[in-house]
Symmetry: C2
Subunit: 377 residues, 2 copies
Amino acid sequence: MQFKVNSKELEKVISKVFPAVPTRTPVQILENFLFILEDGVLTIYGTDLEMSLKSSISVVSDGDFEGVVPARLFYETIRSLGDTSLVINIEERNRMRVVWDKGEVTISYIDKSEFPEVPSFPTESEPDSPLFSFSISGLDLKYAIDKTSFAVSKEEIRPAMMGTLFEFSGEGLRFVATDGHRLVNLLYQNAATENEGNFIVAGNVTSILQRVLDEREVKVYFSKSHVSFILNDMELIARLISERYPDYKAVIPLENEYTLMVSPKELLSSVKRMMLFTTGKMRKIKLTLSPDKILLSAEDIDLGASGKEEVASSYDGEPMEIGFNSSYLSEVLSHLTDNDEIHFKLHTPNKAVTIYPKEQKENWELVMLLMPVRLNN
Amino acid sequence: MQFKVNSKELEKVISKVFPAVPTRTPVQILENFLFILEDGVLTIYGTDLEMSLKSSISVVSDGDFEGVVPARLFYETIRSLGDTSLVINIEERNRMRVVWDKGEVTISYIDKSEFPEVPSFPTESEPDSPLFSFSISGLDLKYAIDKTSFAVSKEEIRPAMMGTLFEFSGEGLRFVATDGHRLVNLLYQNAATENEGNFIVAGNVTSILQRVLDEREVKVYFSKSHVSFILNDMELIARLISERYPDYKAVIPLENEYTLMVSPKELLSSVKRMMLFTTGKMRKIKLTLSPDKILLSAEDIDLGASGKEEVASSYDGEPMEIGFNSSYLSEVLSHLTDNDEIHFKLHTPNKAVTIYPKEQKENWELVMLLMPVRLNN
């Protein structure tokens, strides 16, 4: 049999599925795409077993086909062809021959039976049917992921924290990410639900979404075990992290009575400079707070180097010296630079600090939390 | 003592010297800049012992200074400051304190005596005085390096080939680079000299030049042992590779009587695609030559994949099948894509092929040479 397709359009479809294909995996079969061509629709799947991506394209075909095709080789070949008409012939001895005006390539494919089962989302009739579903603009979902995903933990010892919490309630949909050192808590007020429920979406899933989301609407379905993100022409299905998310509410301090107001851009610029003069894994930086300025200071004992710098600010509390890991502080600040002013809420130098934009974005409520580090003076 | 300087202007000077500072070196002292401030001129040196870069800037100073300063820390600090006025104080216990309006940093420096001797260029009165000198536009020198340096060998077993040959003669200045698989021979006719002489400039030197050259004039001096490139506000001095360059003339075939004319862009595009279907270290690709087209073909035996493709061309010789390492072929072609048409000169499938632009650039004469690989059919 054979089917016909434009190389540029085929490339678009493949490029959407390719991010799910693992690069270095002991399960070599996963380095392939699964092709299923049925009734003139070619669907291409990629999976790393935890997650799958699929996308479809209409083709002109004289029959159906199922096969497993080397992902990178196929992707790079199609990409190198620019914009041309392709005839793809399925031939004997599992050979796929891709023909264009000036040349052709032949690629061996494998039988579909060799490919592992692709994670699929339960249908409404199954016991594990969707519990929650909602629509959201791709840009809003991207905003939520951009603001939270940097705080997701990379440490496998606490698997629950290796994902972003999606928490449904009457307030809206809350996104929470933390690695124990900092926490992001972002409420999207437009998605209030009657029932409550919470789900953890793995960090590699949100980082793929970050790359593919655009202004188009996304449909999201959660079942007890899986999540499905349906974009215009592709679907991402992933296994949820089936762990209990830590009680993030317990760590958000309520008694932080002092307020420090500062420009995140100016503070970030100073933190980045002072970071050069920190030492060790902790990369400690000291903030000395007074009514109208922050004095930042740092010291690299190994190099015998030190720095200090002032940033204009407004502070209504007791004079305070407070230490932070400068990498964490700069990462938090760099996710707040879309604000002209942010407010730090503080209590004492050993209590978590909360950070808010002075003006919340409409329909959103963002708070970040950062643990200080002990100063030894 | 103290001196004053603008951070942006200091950054420009440092950025020119920084490329000479080695990143991972067992000789830790080389990770520093040498500062010499004399009569209001601050000269900054960086060296890896084989090569040195220096650049100077006028400063407002109340005394002289010599010291060795951590290169990366100093560079990144100054770079992070944007455009501001600096006062740099040299204080007791080898401390350099850099002060700007909002802050300050203190960096420990080391005595000059700890720094190795910086390669310097012999003056006219010394026995090893300059043998050759010439001026060239920075863009012309950059053109010569861009065309040749990719072919320089990275293998330490043949040190002479780890640099570019600069050969002076009545014809002009010839640049030659080869790694034994391909060779570039580029004559610059504007620099003819009465005397003959040849010098090998190391690959890391030409790659630094590639980055810093612009349209401004360059003065070049060769002594028996060293080369000096003087750009407007910086000088690069390097030890020459004191080996005998292989007899490149002996490998350039003269009897190549067949001509193949082709667009380098079209051939490159096809080679890049067929490269995906090559296998092993050799990455072999076959070119089947006929009067009006080249048939490229390749096979990846491990993957069971293969490709073939035609490129329009014009050929006046016997039908021929000739094999190339596709990486080498694509690299040669990618350095010829500024030409609409190139000519391959061939004799037999096991003899070196020469490649010329159809139209040589004025004052330049370029020829590349590529060794074929054996086809086993």
